[in-house]
């Protein structure tokens, strides 16, 4: 339990600093320190258990379906890393309190830091690789926030992004690798995976898994060639660099390699990949570090180099090498953190980190100087300091390892690496502190307050103690940790200063001698370096990213150029492809149904229709003409409906067409009368081909359908329409009863259309659009007599007739062609005629009905009839009926479905009128014609001119 708490505490505590900042920087720092100390304390309580060789485990189920459990375990390796993370974390927190400036938002800083800390602890304690992945990605994310902490600095932002991209992509590779491991083993629990080393190494998936996991580790631990992000992460505040790039994050990769060492190491590919990469990184890093003038840059590359050394040791895959690796992890953490912190001090106190601007600080900053000299000497691997011991062990191991059968390669290169590391370590000391004092330091240097130098001092003390009494201070920890790494018996070893005259000793001597020589002849060496090539990783990285962005923009954005023509072409093309391949991809046989004989009339109509289609394609740019042609086609279609026994359809088609045409004409009143010719011949050709293919396709399908027999549900409707549906017009019964719910949806659609159109048009009757309309250039010629008397009279006389017809159609609908929808349209047309004849205003004054009310009421009535049934305990829209007698109409039956049909009727009238009425009003406004109080312009009894309203 307390184990999970160690991970949880930093996350929970992360809110504290953000809150505490209001009560001062000290409180803020304290809260963070307190949280970390608590976690550290909890960790210490487990030390005895772990040191006695037991493994502390705790776990809960989270997502069993995936095998993702919240399992934690603590063994030597976990203990070591958790200790480093929390211990050094504590020092960093104290240090940062004094390091950060007044203006820096300290609350954010500590919040991010604690989040990062929690993620790190999570990585090293997870007993489930998926859980580990979560923490792994979290470190990438939180380090992104920490590195970019100084948002105003471009280097900060770029460094942060680079770190995120590199480690993030590594993390993605790691996900794949871990999933493969889990796939092989059948469990994502680390402890289980560690049991199945054999199985994994023999699996055919071993190599891909290994590669993916190594990419994850190498990116995180800045191994060549992924090392370039680390130096740029130095734009972060020094405490961050000290924490992330010495003790913790960059060690995560090393940690994971150590963690999976028992299952992954062994095969040659492991040796050649890991050891080689490590060695190359070690040498390259050290070489570059030698020429960095920025202290943090120097330390960054030295970190790269030392991480390379650890990686190489793990790559050797021998128990003793593992021991060396573990020991060096400890030592490096101590001296490197100390060095970063003191670099921070120098920066803080002198105002620069540039070795060229420094020197002669020995007397000015004695404390800092002492700390740096000890730590740097340890980094160089000088005796009596811990760095020396682990370096010796490394050289010892290397000295009897052959690479591709060559015994000399590794020792030689390792010595070179060590040589450089001696050189840059001493360069740090000499160029930083010795030489003459100068008078051009940006700030006057002096030793910092204790809060800044104590943390590094503590670490330096460790450096010395471990260096002098390694067995006492590190022996057991190293043994315990190593046994956790190799999951087996630890070889006998004794941490000591003196191992006799071993080859390692001579290699060290060469390294130290050579290093000092190189420093003595530094200008010369630097010239060699100057001569050599300096690939600028950041430039390349930026170029790659910029290139990717440009590529995406030139492809994706260029493709989405906002052209509806292109979009529709793609869509129709897809339909054609899918349609044809669907048809050709399956079995088909021509149908057997006997065909109807073609009657001459049909032939004639067919010819007319084809002609109309041809004309419309040819002359579509003459808009009015095109509308007429569409009308012709619609007319022929409705004739077809009549002929093929679908009277309802014919009526509907006709009435809809009338209304649609009126609507389109009203719109055309504003729109230009001609479509400009703009699409190229090529474009027209493409469209013709698409259209042709689609036409052939659907025509063929229609043919295939019509020429084969089938059985459908329809017999049921025909049999039951009368005695169950109470109607003889089966289509209407289906509409209002059997499938009344479709119709319900249908009137909802109409209602919405009404509302949407109202919203659109109303929006045009105000604001600048309205003004714009007021002066709209209209192409159509106005007729002198807007409201011809004859038409007015006709319309007026017609209205009652139309209404009666409407009612009639409505009532008979259930038994013979007709029904609410058609009736609605007929009535609407009748009303529209009033508008057309006598003008909007005149009609509007007399049109007391609210169209909104019609729509809303219609839908409500329809719904209520349906709900009525629910109250009776029947499902929605259940209908009942009875017969009545009326003069004229004759015997007709009243089905409750009729109430539903009333709803349809009202909605239709409302929807149509709403659209047409408002549109015509717009037209009147745009045509700047007067509101006419009188039904007709030329009323015999009247001669005063009609008033203009604008």
């Amino acid at each position: 339990m307390s184990l999970a708490l160690i991970v949880l505490l930093p996350f929970l505590g992360a809110v504290l600093p953000a809150l505490m900042i209001h009560s001062g920087r000290a409180a803020c720092a304290l809260s963070a320190a307190w949280v970390t100390a608590l976690a550290f304390g909890l960790l210490l309580t487990h030390v005895p258990t772990v040191m006695s060789g037991q493994v502390v485990q705790v776990g809960w189920e989270w997502l069993p379906a995936l095998g993702l459990h919240v399992n934690f375990f603590l063994d030597g390796l976990g203990l070591l890393f958790a200790g480093l993370i929390l211990g050094i974390g504590l020092l960093i927190i104290i240090y940062a309190r004094y390091y950060l400036a007044e203006k820096d938002p300290m609350g954010n800083f500590y919040t991010y830091l604690l989040l990062f800390q929690g993620a790190m602890v999570g990585i090293v304690l997870s007993d489930n690789v998926l859980l580990l992945l979560i923490f792994w990605e979290l470190t990438s994310l939180t380090s992104f926030l920490l590195i970019g902490y100084w948002r105003h600095l471009p280097e900060g932002r770029q460094g942060a992004r680079m770190a995120l991209v590199v480690t993030g992509s590594g993390g993605l590779a790691l996900i794949a690798g871990m999933l493969i491991l889990g796939h092989i083993v059948g469990s994502y629990d680390l402890t289980v995976i560690l049991q199945h080393g054999e199985e994994i190494r023999e699996s055919p998936l071993y190599v891909p898994a290994l590669l993916l996991i190594l990419v994850g580790c190498f990116t995180k631990s800045a191994q060549f060639p992924f090392h370039f992000w680390l130096p740029h992460a130095m734009a972060a505040p020094t405490p961050v660099s000290a924490y992330l790039h010495s003790a913790t994050m960059v060690k995560a990769g090393v940690f994971l390699m150590a963690r999976l060492w028992p299952v992954l190491s062994g095969p040659e590919i492991w040796f050649y990949l890991v050891a080689t990469t490590g060695l190359v990184t070690m040498v390259v890093g050290a070489w570059i570090a030698l020429f960095k003038d920025d202290l943090k840059g120097l330390l960054a590359f030295s970190t790269v180099s030392h991480l390379g050394m650890m990686t190489m040791l793990l790559g050797l895959a021998t128990p003793m090498a593992a021991v060396a690796a573990v020991f060096h992890i400890i030592n490096h953490a101590t001296f490197k953190a100390a060095l970063f912190l003191s670099a921070g001090i120098i920066d803080h106190e002198t105002g620069t980190r540039d070795l060229k601007k420094l020197g002669g600080l020995l007397m000015l900053m004695p404390i800092t100087a002492t700390l740096v000299m000890i730590a740097a000497a340890s980094m160089a691997g000088i005796p009596f300091l811990n760095g020396f011991l682990s370096k010796e062990m490394m050289l010892e191991e290397i000295s009897h390892t052959a690479w591709a059968g060559q015994g000399w390669i590794l020792p030689a290169l390792a010595t070179v690496g060590a040589l450089f590391s001696v050189a840059y370590s001493f360069r740090y000391i000499v160029h930083g502190f010795f030489g003459p004092q100068r008078d051009d330091y940006p700030k006057h240097p002096h030793d910092p307050p204790a809060g800044l130098w104590l943390p590094p001092a503590l670490l330096v003390v460790l450096v010395v103690l471990i260096g002098l009494f390694p067995e006492t201070f590190a022996g057991d920890l190293v043994r315990r940790t190593t046994s956790a790494v190799i999951q087996g018996p630890v070889p006998e070893f004794h941490l000591a200063l003196w191992h006799g005259l071993t080859p390692a000793l001579f290699m060290s001597i060469v390294a130290v001698g050579g290093g000092l020589l190189a420093l003595w002849r530094y200008p010369m060496v630097r010239n060699w370096w100057q001569a050599g090539p300096h690939p600028e990783a950041k430039a390349m990285f930026d170029a790659v990213i910029a290139g990717a962005v440009r590529l995406c923009q030139t492809t994706v954005l260029a493709l989405h150029n906002g052209s509806l023509q292109r979009y529709l072409a793609f869509m129709i093309g897809a339909a054609v492809v899918l349609g044809f391949s669907g048809f050709l991809g399956a079995s088909h046989a021509p149908g057997q149904r006997e065909l109807l004989p073609a009657v001459p009339v049909a032939g004639v109509l067919w010819v007319i229709l084809l002609a109309a289609c041809g004309l419309i394609v040819a002359f579509q740019r003459q808009r009015l003409f095109a509308v007429v042609l569409v009308g012709v086609i619609g007319l022929i279609v409705s004739i077809a409906f009549v002929y093929f026994s679908a009277p309802d359809l014919a009526m509907t088609q006709i009435s809809v067409e009338v209304v649609t045409t009126i609507l389109i004409l009203l719109a055309l009143y504003f729109l230009p009368g001609e479509t400009p010719r703009e699409s190229s011949a090529l474009r027209r050709g493409r469209d013709a081909v698409l259209a042709g293919l689609a036409g052939i396709g659907i025509g063929g399908l229609a043919w295939a359908v019509m020429t084969r027999d089938f059985s459908s549900l329809s017999s049921y409707y025909i049999e039951n329409s009368h005695h169950l549906g109470g109607g003889d017009n089966v289509v209407n019964v289906i509409l209002v009863d059997f499938r009344g719910f479709d119709t319900f949806g249908e009137i909802i659609v109409l209602g919405i259309a009404g509302l949407a159109i109202y919203a659109l048009l109303k929006g045009m009757m105000e604001g600048e659009i309205h003004e714009k309309l007021g002066s709209w250039p209209l192409e159509m010629r106005k007729s002198a007599d807007r409201h011809p008397m004859l038409m007015v009279i006709m319309a007026r006389v017609m209205l009652p007739l139309v209404l009666i017809v409407g009612v009639y159609i409505f009532l008979r609908g259930h038994n013979s062609p007709g029904g609410g929808f058609i009736a609605g349209l007929v009535v609407a047309i009748g009303l529209v005629m009033q508008y057309m004849a006598s003008g909007f205003a005149w009609a509007a004054q007399r049109m007391t009905i609210q169209y909104h009310a019609l729509i809303g009421g219609g839908v409500l009535i329809a719904a209520t009839t349906g709900i009525g049934a629910m109250i009776m305990g029947y499902p929605f829209l259940t209908s009942t009926y009875d017969y009545f007698n009326l003069p004229v109409v004759g015997k007709f039956e009243l089905a409750s479905a009729l109430g539903f049909d009333v709803g349809v009727f009202l909605t239709v009238v409302g929807g149509v009128m709403l659209a047409l009425a408002y549109l015509s009003d717009l037209g009147r406004w745009a045509s700047r014609s007067p509101i006419n109080e009188q039904p007709m312009d030329a009323l015999p009894t009247r001669d005063e001119p009609s008033r203009r309203d604008d």
Binding site: G562, I616, V617, A646, I664, A667, S712, D728, D742, L750
Partner: protein, 117 residues
């Protein structure tokens, strides 16, 4: 007869699609109207062709054409009417607001798309 109907459907569809692919809103609207005619016809013929068999029950008559597709087409006609009405008005307003009835988004359209009014 079947051939006449099938070819009719094909031709209207072709004409409709050709118009739909034009560059101005008006032909696009007409194209969509044509397309709906063709599609309604297609949906209708899935009940197969029958002459003189309207699905209105009369005593003594036994042969009726399939009423279901007719009901579906009726619904479809109504719905497509609503849709046409909306797109007509929308196209109209788009034209009047941007004084251009081209169907493609012009550059910078996205720059003006985020205002509340």
């Amino acid at each position: 007869m079947e051939f006449l109907v099938a070819s009719t459907i094909g031709v209207i569809t072709a004409a409709g699609i050709y118009l739909v692919l034009r560059a101005r809103t008006f032909p696009v609207v007409l194209g969509l109207t044509l397309l709906t005619y063709a599609i309604n016809l297609f949906l209708f013929i899935t009940g197969r062709l029958a002459v003189g068999q309207p699905p209105v029950l009369q005593d003594g008559v036994t042969a009726y054409t399939d009423p279901l597709p007719q009901a579906l087409v009726l619904t479809a006609i109504v719905i497509s009417f609503g849709m046409t009405a909306v797109i007509v008005v929308m196209a109209l307003r788009a034209y009047i607001e941007s004084e251009n009835d081209h169907v493609d988004l012009i550059d910078g359209d996205n720059d003006r798309g985020d205002s509340r009014t």
